[in-house]
C-alpha cells in the first residue's frame, strides 16, 4: 500500500477541516469573541484535565452509539431519523427497571436495565422497519412520527405517574438507585465509553466480516441485484432498523445510568439528529463514525465549559457540526454524498410505486 492511496482521503479531510474551521472563525468573530482565547478555552474544556476528558467521553457516548445505528441503516439505504425517540424509549426502559427492582445487586441490575433499554429501542426502530418492509411506508416519515410518540409518552409519564413526588417540581423521575448506576473506571473512563467501543467493534464486524453485512451493504447499493441474489429486502430492512433502534436505545440507557440518573422532558438535547450528521461525516463506517462521534462529544463538552470561562455561546457547536457535514459532503461526493443519494433513491422508488 502506498501513500498515494491515501492522498484523496487526506485532501478530503483537509477540505472538510479547513472549511469547518473557517466557518467557526466567522461565527466566533461574529459573536464578538477573540478566536485565540476561545479556541484555548474550548480545548481546555474538552481535554484540559482528567475531568474534562471524562466529560467529553460522557458527552460522546449517546450520540456515538446512536450514530453507529444510523450508519448501519445508511449502508442499507435507509434513513434512521428516529434516534431521539429510540433514545427516550431506551432511557424509559432503563429507568423503569432500575426503579422497579432497586434491590437487585449491580451485577444483575445494570445489565438488566441496559438490556431492557436496548430492547425498547430495538422495538421502536423495528416498528419503523416493519412499516417500511410490509406497508411500504417511508422510514423518514415514520421515524419522525415515532419520535413524537416516544417524546409524548415520556413527557406524560414524567409529568404524571413517574414524577418524583419528593422533587422540586421539575418534571423528572426519581433518581435511579446506586445499584443501577454505571461505574467510572479510574475516575477517567466512564463504562459507557467502553460500551461505545465494543459497539463500534461489533458494527465493524457486522458490516465487514459477516454474510449479513454483505447483504446489508448489497441491499443498500442495488435492490435489483439483491432481489436476483435471493436476499430478502424486507428481512434486511427490519433487521437494520431494529439494530439502529437497539444501539440508540442503549445510548439512552447509558446516558441515564451513567450520567443523568433521572429521566425528564429534556433528556436528549437532539442527539438523534446529531447522530445523522456524525454518521454522514464518518461515511457510514464504524471507525469513521466512532472517531467523529468522540470528536463531536469533545467539541460539545469543550464549548459547554468554555461557556463559563470565555462566554462562548453553545450554538457554536451546532454551527460547526452543520458546517462539517456540509464540507464533508462537498469534499467527498462519492462517500457521504453517495450514502445520501442512495438512501434518497430508495425513498423515491417507494414514492413512485
Amino acid at each position: 500500500m502506498t501513500i498515494e492511496r491515501f492522498i484523496p482521503a487526506l485532501t478530503r479531510g483537509a477540505v472538510a477541516l479547513i472549511g469547518t474551521l473557517a466557518v467557526g472563525l466567522v461565527a466566533v468573530l461574529a459573536a464578538g469573541l477573540d478566536p485565540v482565547t476561545t479556541l484555548q478555552a474550548i480545548i481546555d474544556g474538552a481535554l484540559g484535565s482528567p475531568y474534562a476528558i471524562r466529560q467529553s467521553l460522557t458527552e460522546a457516548v449517546p450520540v456515538t452509539l446512536t450514530a453507529l445505528g444510523v450508519a448501519v441503516a445508511f449502508r442499507a439505504g435507509l434513513f434512521n431519523l428516529g434516534g431521539d425517540g429510540q433514545i427516550y424509549i431506551g432511557a424509559l426502559g432503563a429507568v423503569g427497571i432500575s426503579l422497579l427492582f432497586p434491590d437487585l445487586t449491580p451485577a444483575l441490575l445494570i445489565p438488566f436495565a441496559l438490556g431492557v433499554g436496548m430492547l425498547g429501542g430495538l422495538i421502536w426502530g423495528g416498528i419503523a422497519g416493519v412499516l417500511r418492509a410490509k406497508l411500504r411506508l417511508s422510514e423518514i416519515i415514520t421515524t419522525i412520527m415515532l419520535n413524537f410518540i416516544a417524546f409524548w409518552i415520556v413527557s406524560y409519564l414524567v409529568h404524571g405517574p413517574l414524577k418524583d413526588p419528593g422533587g422540586s417540581g421539575y418534571p423528572l423521575t426519581r433518581e435511579i438507585p446506586e445499584a443501577a448506576q454505571l461505574p467510572v473506571f479510574g475516575d477517567l473512563i466512564p463504562s459507557g465509553a467502553v460500551l461505545m467501543l465494543v459497539a463500534a467493534f461489533c458494527v465493524w464486524l457486522l458490516l465487514e466480516r459477516t454474510p449479513t453485512g454483505i447483504k446489508i451493504k448489497g441491499t443498500g447499493s442495488s435492490a435489483s441485484a439483491s432481489h436476483f441474489a435471493g436476499v430478502s429486502m424486507s428481512r434486511v430492512t427490519i433487521l437494520v432498523m431494529a439494530i439502529a433502534g437497539a444501539l440508540a436505545g442503549l445510548g439512552g440507557a447509558v446516558s441515564l445510568q451513567g450520567d443523568q440518573y433521572k429521566l425528564g422532558d429534556f433528556f436528549s438535547p437532539g442527539w438523534g439528529f446529531d447522530a445523522v450528521a456524525v454518521a454522514l461525516i464518518g461515511r457510514g463506517t464504524a471507525a469513521g463514525t466512532l472517531i467523529t462521534g468522540i470528536a463531536v462529544g469533545a467539541l460539545r463538552s469543550g464549548i459547554q465549559s468554555a461557556q463559563g470561562t470565555a462566554e462562548v455561546p453553545s450554538s457554536i457547536a451546532q454551527i460547526l457540526l452543520a458546517a462539517a457535514v456540509l464540507f464533508v459532503i462537498v469534499g467527498n461526493a462519492e462517500g457521504a454524498g453517495q450514502l445520501v443519494r442512495r438512501s434518497w433513491a430508495r425513498t423515491r422508488e417507494l414514492a413512485s410505486e
Binding site: R209, T210, I214, K217, S221, A225
Partner: protein, 504 residues
Amino acid sequence: MTALVKMSGIVKSFGETIANDDVSLEIAAGEVHALLGENGAGKTTLMNILYGLTIPDEGTIEVGGVAVAPRNPADAIDAGVGMVHQHPLVVGALTVAENFSLGGLGDGSPASMLEAVADVVQTIPLEVDPRARIDSLPMSLRQRVEIVRCLAHGVRVLVLDEPTAVLTPNEVQQLFGEMERVVEQGRSVIFITHKLAEVQTIAQRVTVLRHGRNVGSFAVGDITSAELAEQMVGRELSDRSAKGAPRAAGAARLELRGVCAVGDDGECLLDNLDLEVCAGEIVAIAGVEGNGQRPLADICFGLRVPDSGEVLHDDERLPQLRDWGHSKVAIARIPEDRRHEGLLIDSPLWENLRYGPNLSAKRGLINRRHEVARARSLLEEFGVVPPDPMVAPSALSGGNQQKVVLARELSSDPDLVVAVNPTRGLDIGAQRDVRDRLAALRDAGRAVLVISTDLDEVIEIGDRVGVLYRGRLETPIAQNAVDRARIGKAMAGLLDDQQDRAEA
C-alpha cells in the same frame, strides 16, 4: 479521403490501467467504420472520449476539420458526435417524449417531440408511442429511440457501442438498413461489435484495438475474418471448439409441465409450456425479447411462481429462491441484465463473487483473506482483467463484467445451469471459453438451459434447440436437424403456421 473525425495520440489511464495508449483513429465521411478488440481493449473508453464522457489524459480530436475537446456529451453533440452507449443511458422511468425533452427536443409532450424529430423519422421510422415509458420498451426500440434522438440533434458521427449484442437476426438486419441510410446522407457510423461476420457485412473499414493500442486500420475487402481475429488477440486462433457430440441424455433435471404465466395486464406471457432439460444435455432456446423468455427465465431462477403448471427440479417442486440456501439447490443463474441484476456495481468483486442465495447458508464470520484469495484465483481462472478482488465492477469493461457473473455462477459446482445470453458482450476468445465450460459441465452430467436472442449462440451451444415465440415453445429438436433459416423465421413469427395461430 477527407477525415470527418480525426483522433490523434489519445492516452487515457485509470490508475494503473492504461485503457488507451497513444491511439489514433480517422473516420471518413460516409463510411461505416467498425471498431474491434478483445474485452477491455479500450473501445468503449476511446468512444467515451469522443463523446465527452471521459476526459483524455493526452491527445487531440478534430471533427470536420475543427479541433474540439468535448468535456461532456452536450459539447460532443454540438460538435456533431452522438453515441448510443453499450449500456443504455436514457432514463428508464421517463417516457420517450420526456427523454427527448431532456436533450432540448420538445417540451415533453408527444406533439412537440414528434415535431422535433419529424425530419429524422422520414429516414428512420421511430415506431414507438411517445407516451411509452422507456423501460417498458424492448431493447431494440430503446436503441432506436437513442439513434433517432442523436440524429435529431443533427450529429454527423454516430457511435454505436455493441448495438447488435441485444438484437435478433431480423433486428440486426433492420439496424443495418438504418445504418446504411445514415451513411448515405454523408454521415458516418462508428460501430463496435464482437461479431466479425457483421463487420464484413456492414463496414467499409475496420480498426482493431489491442491492449489499448491501435494495431491497424484496414479496408474490409482486404482482410479476412480469420486475419482480423488474429489481429485482435495477437496470435493465431485455432478453429477448434472443445464441444464434442452429445452423449445420451440422462434423467430430467428440470421439468416444466403446462406452465402458464400471466402479465400484469392479464396478457398471456407463457402459454402452456412444456420443457425438459436432462442431465448431460444443453437445451438452447432462441427468442426475441418480449416473447416470454423473461418470465421463463424468472421461473427457472426461482423468482417467479407460474400462474399454473408445475416446475420440477430433480423430480421435486422447485422451491422459491430465498429458500435455496437451506435446501441445497445448486442452480447456476446467469441473468439477462448483468449491471442491474448480476452485479453490485459499486461493491468490490470479492463480495460480488459471494452474492447469491448460498450466502445465507454460510454461518459465522467471513475469513476475509481467504475470500480475497479465492476471488483472485476465480478472476484469474475466468480471465477477468484486472483480476483485482478489491475493485468494483463499475471499473471493468462490459465483457469483463459479464465474466465476473459467469465466474460466480459457474464456479459453484451447479447441477443445473440456467443462462440468459451467457456470452453477450464477450470477445471471441471469451465466448469460446464459456461455450467450452458449458460443454464441460454437460459432459460431467449436468443439465444446461440457455435462453438467448443470439441465433448463432443458440445453434452453436445447444444440443437441442427450440424457439420461443409469443409465449409458445415447440419441443426443442436435435441441433443437427435444425434449419437455420427456419429458426430465424420462427423467432420473428414469420412461419406460416405461426401466422395461422396468431390469426386464430
